[in-house]
Amino acid sequence: MMSVGQNEKPVETSIRNKLSEIFKPSYLEVNNESYMHSVPKGSETHFKVVVVSDKFENLPLIKRHRLVNETLKEELDSGVHALSMVTKTLKQWEDSGQKVGKSPPCMGGAGL
């Protein structure tokens, strides 16, 4: 998973590695959504992550988000300025039908 294009996507790779290490997720998605925004091609500025991990058990949503933010503090401090996330336990993930909503378009519109 990490052997191809590792150098071309240093931030994405780093996000993936850190989330894997800290949350030992049973499911993980790291999506670079920078292309949806007005930044140069190949940018690594906008990300959406899906982390399914039992480490979130009994934690309110805001605490889960804080954990992810802390894990990726370095990235957020150095160039990543949008991080959208879905944080679920395995049970919640299975109950949710494993569906993730779309990110909103960059400059508004209907938004939902």
Partner: protein, 147 residues
């Protein structure tokens, strides 16, 4: 010698003025200032752009959710217009991304959390806690009457 002295005096006066200006101008990113913006306020949104013209899809999402609940008179602060506030609110909340939502001085979260709370119904309850009745409740009642 006199000339040298004059230059150095001018320089030190200028730097002294800068220090004074920094000391006495309102630092919009300071904890005290942000305390004043969020404490005792029902609902405050720190966003990119304005509610009528958001500059970011995530900020827009929050505004649209609030509109769906009929919440119009919330206070919005455009962090793109104030770099000091933009950094200050991140430090204040210990949360690195914008938008950020506060209710009664308490940090609620960003757009993902607002969307989740909207979907699972918690937002109606949170709004109730700060004395705002969600318009979605009226809609539900109407539907019940009709049904």
């Amino acid at each position: 010698m006199n000339r040298l002295l004059k230059i150095s005096t001018t320089k030190s006066t200028a730097s002294f003025c800068r220090i004074l200006a920094a000391r006495y101008s309102t630092n919009t990113g300071s904890k005290e200032h942000i305390d004043g913006l969020v404490k005792d306020k029902k609902l405050v949104v720190f966003m990119k752009g304005t509610p009528d013209s958001p500059n970011c899809g995530f900020s827009n999402l929050v505004v649209q959710i609030l509109r769906m609940h009929g919440v119009k008179d919330f206070q919005a602060h455009n962090v793109l217009a104030d770099q000091s506030l933009r950094q200050g609110i991140k430090d204040y909340s210990q949360w690195q991304t914008i938008p950020q939502i506060y209710m009664n001085g308490e940090f609620i979260g960003g757009s993902d959390i607002m969307l989740e709370m909207h979907k699972n119904g918690d937002l109606i309850e949170e709004l109730k806690k700060v004395g705002i009745r969600s318009a979605l409740l009226d809609q539900q009642e109407d539907e019940n009457k009709q049904g």
